[in-house]
């Protein structure tokens, strides 16, 4: 697991110590893992799918979207699998009715928060949020729509940001800080008034720190960040660079 930068140097200390291998079970299937691997990555290695939104391979974990929650036998609490490390003989259940029900409701909440109308979105058909509805079997929203209104910022010459589509996963912030090293993006405000911003809440085009690398656009799960001049069919996200970077950074710290 990659912690945020400020924790990583501590976590890295584990590398000078021998890493133990332990065994536990996911949905009754026996699996083995390094002690510093998360439940999520072990599950995926073993072909067990767990839905995620704020998680992206190569970026630090936040444990914030709560879609990857799993049940651990003996604990009344649900644990986010992206930040939970396995213990010997732990019994993890990723697909109980309780978990599936909560995941669907959380996804519904996300859909009520801002404007996610696929038919008029540039990312229609290439959207992580949209794909999640199929994966979780969410057919309708039974809460009231909040639909807070936000402006669209198209001041950047190549990209634009539509806050109405933003799910506040902070992938753009993390890729910009952790990989590009620019830290152009951050969040302002708090709670339901949170909003991602560039620099001092300036138009993106006026940002002095943005390098124009476009990584934020590529990691954005929805149509919030998009390239200008692309049609709906063309607006695919190219994330090939991430596993490569992850590998390089892994080598560096090991």
């Amino acid at each position: 697991m990659r912690y945020p930068a400020f924790l990583q140097r501590i976590a890295d200390r584990a590398d000078v110590q021998p890493v133990r291998i332990l065994t536990f079970s996911i949905n009754g299937q026996a699996v083995s893992a390094r002690e510093d691997e998360t439940i999520l990555s072990v599950a995926r290695e073993n072909g067990i799918s767990i839905p995620t939104l704020c998680h992206l391979d190569g970026l630090s974990e936040r444990g914030a979207c709560r879609l990857c929650i799993v049940e651990i036998k003996g604990s009344p609490k649900l644990s986010p699998s992206c930040v939970t490390l396995p213990r010997q003989d732990m019994e993890v259940i990723t697909n109980s009715d309780r978990v599936l029900d909560y995941r669907r409701k959380i996804l519904e909440l996300l859909f009520t928060e801002r404007n996610h109308i696929c038919s008029v979105c540039v990312s229609n058909g290439h959207c992580d949020l949209q794909a999640l509805t199929t994966e979780l079997g969410m057919t309708h929203v039974h809460y009231d729509y909040l639909h807070t209104r936000h402006a669209v910022d198209a001041s950047h010459e190549r990209f634009s940001v539509d806050h109405n589509r933003c799910v506040l996963c902070q992938r753009c912030i993390r890729v910009c800080e952790e990989i590009e090293g620019a830290h152009t993006w951050d969040v302002m405000g708090r709670g339901y008034l949170s909003k991602v911003i560039t620099d001092l809440n300036q138009p993106w085009g006026e940002s002095t720190s943005c390098t124009g690398c476009g990584k934020c656009v590529q990691v954005c799960p929805t149509g919030a960040l998009s390239e200008k001049g692309k049609s709906v069919a063309e607006m695919t996200k190219r994330r090939q660079f991430l596993p490569y970077l992850k590998l390089m950074r892994g080598d560096e710290s090991r």
Binding site: A182, H183, T184, G189, R190, D199
Partner: protein
């Protein structure tokens, strides 16, 4: 404004920055000085403007967006200049039970502004607070930093009227 006056203002400006600079020096210009520094800026200038945020970000070598994010996360900080006087209505639990929402409504009606706003003549800013810790005296209203306890709509209006008609 004559030249002397301008100089005087500049000196005052410097003095205010001195507190800010001292705070950053005290913390060795480390990233963790950010919140303490923002407190110093707000104490000196009454609010945080974009120029001072930029200055703090550069001095502490922090990304601009991070500084802006921190400044807007904490509700104690304000990015808008306050009016000459402030009226803070406490909306803590004890004050709420004692009817502070009615007091707030009355003040809103009289001044025509909502919490977080300042009257057009810049005389009065209306704010709300989450508990001043003076629950024994609920409902509490703070005028210009002075806590007044056991307030009623009438007594608050009287104070607000006094502040609005004050010429200083």
């Amino acid at each position: 404004m004559d030249e002397k006056e301008v100089d005087r203002i500049k000196v005052n400006e410097d003095r205010r920055w001195r507190l800010v600079n001292r705070t950053m020096r005290l913390h060795g210009h480390q990233p963790d000085a950010l919140i303490e520094t923002l407190h110093a800026v707000q104490e000196s200038f009454g609010f945080l403007d974009l120029d001072s945020l930029k200055y703090v970000a550069e001095s502490l070598r922090l990304p601009l967006s991070l500084v802006y994010g921190v400044a807007t996360f904490y509700h104690f900080f304000t990015l808008k200049p306050p009016g000459d006087h402030t009226c803070v209505v406490c909306l803590g639990t004890a004050c709420y039970i004692a009817g502070s929402s009615n007091i707030l409504k009355t003040v809103e009606e009289q001044t025509g502004i909502k919490p977080g706003e300042t009257t057009p003549d810049r005389k009065l800013s209306l704010l709300t607070a989450r508990c001043m810790g003076s629950c024994g005296l609920a409902p509490v209203v703070v005028f210009d930093g002075e806590v007044h306890g056991k307030m009623s709509s009438a007594s608050v209006l009287e104070n607000v009227g006094r502040l609005l008609n004050h010429d200083d």
